[in-house]
């Protein structure tokens, strides 16, 4: 068996930290940046842009660029977006230089003022021109700030809608929900900044750290697909016995989720779990089970999980989704169907794809260069494309996946397989738009061989198989990033959903599915005892309270006699 190092792969397939930049634009942006800096975010560079030199000097960011050196002479723009616009143009070259080679750019700005509203669209444009994926976090002014600022903000927002890849707006008017009414305004702003910082952090964690079941930029994109959207974001962390449910509860209590009520309308939900080594499949099942109650059945659940030893006993869950602003009042969201052509989006996003794709392909190649077979992938002849091969290719995928993983770490492999089944259930609709696209770039060719080979524990072919999904990656917005960022699990979920497609199934050569089942079974067996670790909890007899919901207070089961509990401890 060829040894297989996860670490080396990690480094290849994730986006390097140096390629992520967080830009704080204007006064509000500086505040957000400060919060981010205080949270000591790893894996991203901070860049502050401002016209007001005093604010800029006190900013904690590593890089600072003063806008409008000659125009405003170190003063602010006085709320005039035109001035902000001009000041930005003046510093365009410096900003461009700072953004060269960035893969992802987060732009934080408070709209409504001069620098924020005036310069944000230009910064977004520059970043896009430099080939970065641009996520804009914008705060909208309070109602009491008056109509004029509101209008300035709206204008700027409209431009950003077109220019950015993803736009998340935080409405200051909703800030009141973040804090108690009697708390100071400082805390209110602080809470809003923290929320933005958390969102960015979660996004970075998603994108940078490869997961067991990876979710990447593509998944994020589809979760945030709607433009002019309100971002639904919740993140929770918990430890202890029922950390899964606790973490979920924490995540749902985010005001942006409205106690989970808003998730009811979400079409696409990205769920990312991160836990220490002790993360069990059982917990994930539990968590996803209870999450199902909060999202509509038809929702597209993009699931990701990662193991981070630094998490220790903690389990964190991040929920990201988006609702278009109008649907917050109206309920229907027909426009945000899975096919990425909602009227407003199509123009916005198509260019985005064009820009991103080269970047990702580059990463792909970087990532796969080490493996000989990997590099073959792009060379695969197109002629082999056929629905038959498609089918056959898909089947081995999950299996192969398991085995690949099982080499170095069987447990993880199993988890992946099982989890993927879960996620597969969640996203049946996805297969439809992708199936046709697959045919233009099919490497399906090897899968025919793979279907037999794939079951053997040789890492190489599987490596190949697991990357097959790039085939689906023709819808670059979704799939392309899968590869660069450790696309292991993204693909199987695709493939899995195709499993269910009857037409594909028919053509499939009989052998792979048949063999796949036992293999998976075998892998799963050793893992199953894990949920049993919960057993001792229930094992003590409870007399007449037997079989009732556990009555736990402060970690003690009140249904057990204190006499016995205390004796034990």
């Amino acid at each position: 068996m060829i040894s297989y190092s996860r670490d080396s792969r990690d480094s290849h397939e994730s986006i390097p930290a140096s390629a992520v930049k967080i830009i704080g634009l204007g006064g509000a942006g500086a505040n957000m940046l400060e919060r981010i800096a205080l949270d000591s975010m790893e894996g991203a560079e901070l860049l502050a842009l401002n016209t007001d030199v005093r604010t800029l000097v006190s900013c904690l960011a590593k890089d600072k660029i003063q806008l409008g050196v000659n125009l405003t002479k170190g003063l602010g723009t006085g709320g005039d977006p035109e001035l902000g616009h001009q000041a930005m143009l003046e510093a365009e070259n410096a900003v461009r230089a700072a953004l060269v080679g960035q893969r992802i750019v987060f732009l934080c700005a408070g709209l409504g003022g001069g620098t924020g509203s005036g310069a944000a669209p230009i910064v977004a444009r520059i970043a896009r021109e430099e080939g970065a994926f641009v996520v804009v976090f914008a705060t909208m002014p309070f109602f009491f700030e008056g109509r004029r600022r509101r209008e300035q903000a709206e204008t700027s927002l409209n431009q950003l809608t077109v220019l950015s890849n993803a736009l998340v707006t935080f409405d200051n008017n909703r800030m009141g929900e973040l804090v108690l009414a009697k708390q100071g305004i400082h805390e209110a702003f602080g809470a809003a900044d923290r929320m933005i910082s958390e969102s960015i952090k979660a996004v970075i964690r998603l994108v940078i750290r490869p997961g067991l079941i990876n979710v990447g930029l593509d998944d994020l994109m589809s979760a945030l697909r709607t433009t002019r959207s309100r971002c639904l974001f919740g993140s929770g962390i918990a430890d202890g016995k029922d950390r899964a449910s606790k973490a979920l509860r924490n995540a749902l209590s985010s005001p942006l989720l409205d106690q989970g009520a808003l998730l009811k309308e979400a079409q696409t939900v990205l769920v990312h779990l991160c836990g220490g080594e002790s993360l069990t499949l059982f917990e994930i099942e539990l968590l996803m089970g209870s999450l199902q109650k909060h999202v509509p059945e038809t929702a597209h659940v993009l699931f990701g999980a990662a193991i981070d030893p630094a998490m220790g006993e903690n389990l964190s869950i991040t929920l990201i989704s988006a609702l278009p602003e109008d649907s917050l009042s109206v309920g229907s969201r027909a426009s945000t169907s899975q096919i990425p052509e909602p009227t407003a989006n199509s123009e916005t996003k198509e260019p985005a794809l064009l820009v991103i794709e080269p970047a990702f392909q580059e990463i792909e190649q970087n990532a796969e260069a080490p493996t000989a077979i990997e590099t073959m992938t792009p060379k695969q002849p197109l002629e082999e494309a056929s629905s038959a091969t498609d089918g056959s290719e898909n089947h081995p995928d999950p299996l192969a996946e398991t085995i690949v993983r099982s080499g170095p770490n069987p447990e993880i492999g199993v988890e992946t397989a099982a989890l993927f089944q879960q996620s597969e259930r969640g996203e049946p609709s996805r297969s439809e738009p992708e199936t046709p696209k697959k045919e233009d770039r099919p490497f399906a060719e090897f899968t025919t061989t793979e279907s037999t080979v794939g079951i053997m524990p040789e890492p190489d072919p599987h490596e190949k198989v697991s990357h097959d999904p790039f085939i689906f990656g023709n819808q670059p917005k979704h799939r392309a990033p899968d590869k660069p960022l450790w696309g292991k699990s993204g693909p199987p979920s695709k493939a899995g959903s195709e499993d269910s497609d009857p037409s594909v199934k028919d053509i499939t050569p009989p052998s792979p599915p048949a063999r796949k089942a036992p293999a998976t079974q075998l892998k799963l067996d050793p893992k199953f005892p894990n949920p049993q670790s919960e057993l001792p909890f229930d094992s003590a007899p409870k007399g007449r309270f037997e079989g009732e919901n556990p009555n736990v207070f402060d970690g003690e089961d009140l249904d057990l006699p204190p006499f016995l509990r205390k004796k034990k401890s």
Binding site: G543, R544, E548, D554, L558, P561, F563
Partner: protein
């Protein structure tokens, strides 16, 4: 006169018993208990309905008994609810008067109350009570309504009790199927406090703990206003269950042993030798070491009281002036006062009908009926609060009415 005498019925569906009390509120607001109907409950666990059919049968039985005893046909009841899902929280609403408006108008007060009532609770919860604690005018306490005062900022402190809507609905459904109407729903300890604590005790600060069969409900009054309330899903059943689990005795024997022999105080002199039960035929039935029996009981009850203690606001126990009032069936446990004193360090009372000395019904003094009787008090208070100011005719009528309001 007869027109102004009202009959109220209190219903408590407890874990150990279902209890209906029929009371007559006289025009001078004295309460006379007409009859009590009690049945052992079945199908109730920790204050919640676990077997609807059984619970309904019990309720019907209690209803028949109460109607029999009081000779009143019961059409509607005040219902007390409890359960671990019930929570009491304090909230303060703040309202800044508009600049051109120097004194407080009624609508400002309404506004501030609405703000204060707007507590964030889980979606499936419903709000049961919103009780005004006090108003603050520019930071100064104002116990009466501050309408008309000059102020910049008016604040209102509210105590809001909320619980899971569906469970409360189920209790109502149970009553409706009997069939009776529900006049109002009251969180059990608040009802109990109406009967167990008088105004002065509330003013000085009093903690009421109602330890029933399945739940322990508590309510804390400080400065005449409710400061905390809640429910812990532990009660006398747990004590029995503990004895069963530790000694292996069947439930019925454990229950008997608990009542006749158990002692919750940590006095070692009471924990010597064996506690014995003999059955009817004279056989020495059960023998348990007193040391174990008492220790099991004590640890359970001590833990329960400590849980209550923990959930009270910080420093609140020190402010209790009047003392800790224990009611509910489990508070009859021997040695319980001593134990409660160990935990709280305050005077301990078991209410002996402090507010209504004129009743001569023996069971009226029984802490086990405190909640149901408290419901009648609650109904009476609600009645006086809700009586609309009399119209023209009413005023004229009152002029000649010899019996006060």
């Amino acid at each position: 006169m007869a027109r102004r005498t009202k009959i109220h019925v209190g219903l408590e569906i407890g874990t150990s018993k279902t209890c209906i009390v029929v009371g007559e509120v006289k025009p001078d607001s004295a309460v006379k208990i007409l009859g009590i109907g009690v049945t052992k409950s079945a199908g109730i666990r920790k204050g919640g309905i676990s077997d609807f059919v059984q619970a309904r049968a019990c309720l019907k039985d209690a209803l028949a008994k109460a109607e029999d005893a009081s000779d009143v046909e019961i059409g509607s009841v005040y219902l007390s609810v409890t359960g671990s899902h019930m929570q009491g929280v304090n909230n303060r609403g703040t309202f800044r008067l508009p600049d051109n408006q120097p004194n407080i108008l009624p609508e400002h007060l309404t506004e501030v109350c609405n703000i204060a009532r707007d507590v964030h609770y889980p979606q499936d919860h419903v709000c049961l009570h919103t009780i005004i604690r006090k108003y603050l005018v520019d930071g100064l306490e104002q116990s009466a309504s501050p309408v008309g005062l000059f102020a910049k900022i008016v604040e209102a402190d509210f105590h809001v009790v909320h619980g899971i809507g569906n469970r409360i609905q189920n209790s109502i459904k149970l009553v409706r199927e009997c069939p009776m109407e529900v006049d109002d729903i009251v969180f059990a300890p608040i009802a109990t406090a109406q009967m167990a604590l008088d105004r002065e005790q509330r003013q000085r600060g009093a903690l009421l703990i109602d330890i029933g069969g399945g739940t322990t409900d508590y309510v804390l009054y400080l400065d005449g206003a409710i400061a905390a309330s809640g429910c812990i899903p532990v009660g006398g059943d747990h004590v029995t269950n503990d004895i069963h689990l530790v000694t292996g005795l069947p439930f019925s024997k454990a229950e008997k042993l608990k009542i006749s022999e158990g002692n919750a105080s940590s006095d070692p002199s009471l924990s010597v030798g064996y506690a014995k039960l003999t059955d009817e035929s004279g056989f020495a039935d059960v023998e348990v070491k007193r040391a174990i029996l008492n220790e099991v009981i004590r640890q359970r009850l001590e833990e329960t009281l400590k849980l209550v203690h923990e959930r009270l606001p910080k420093g609140a126990v020190e402010n209790i002036g009047a003392g800790v009032f224990l009611t509910g069936g489990t508070s009859l446990m021997n040695g319980f006062s001593e134990l409660a004193f160990d935990v709280f360090g305050r005077d301990i009372y078991r209410p002996e009908n402090s507010s209504n000395p004129d009743s001569d019904h023996p069971s009226y003094r029984d802490p086990r009926y405190a909640t149901a009787i408290g419901l009648i008090r609650y109904a009476q208070i609600l009645e006086t609060e809700n009586t609309k100011p009399p119209g023209c005719l009413g005023k004229l009528f009152r002029l000649f009415w010899p019996f006060g309001r």
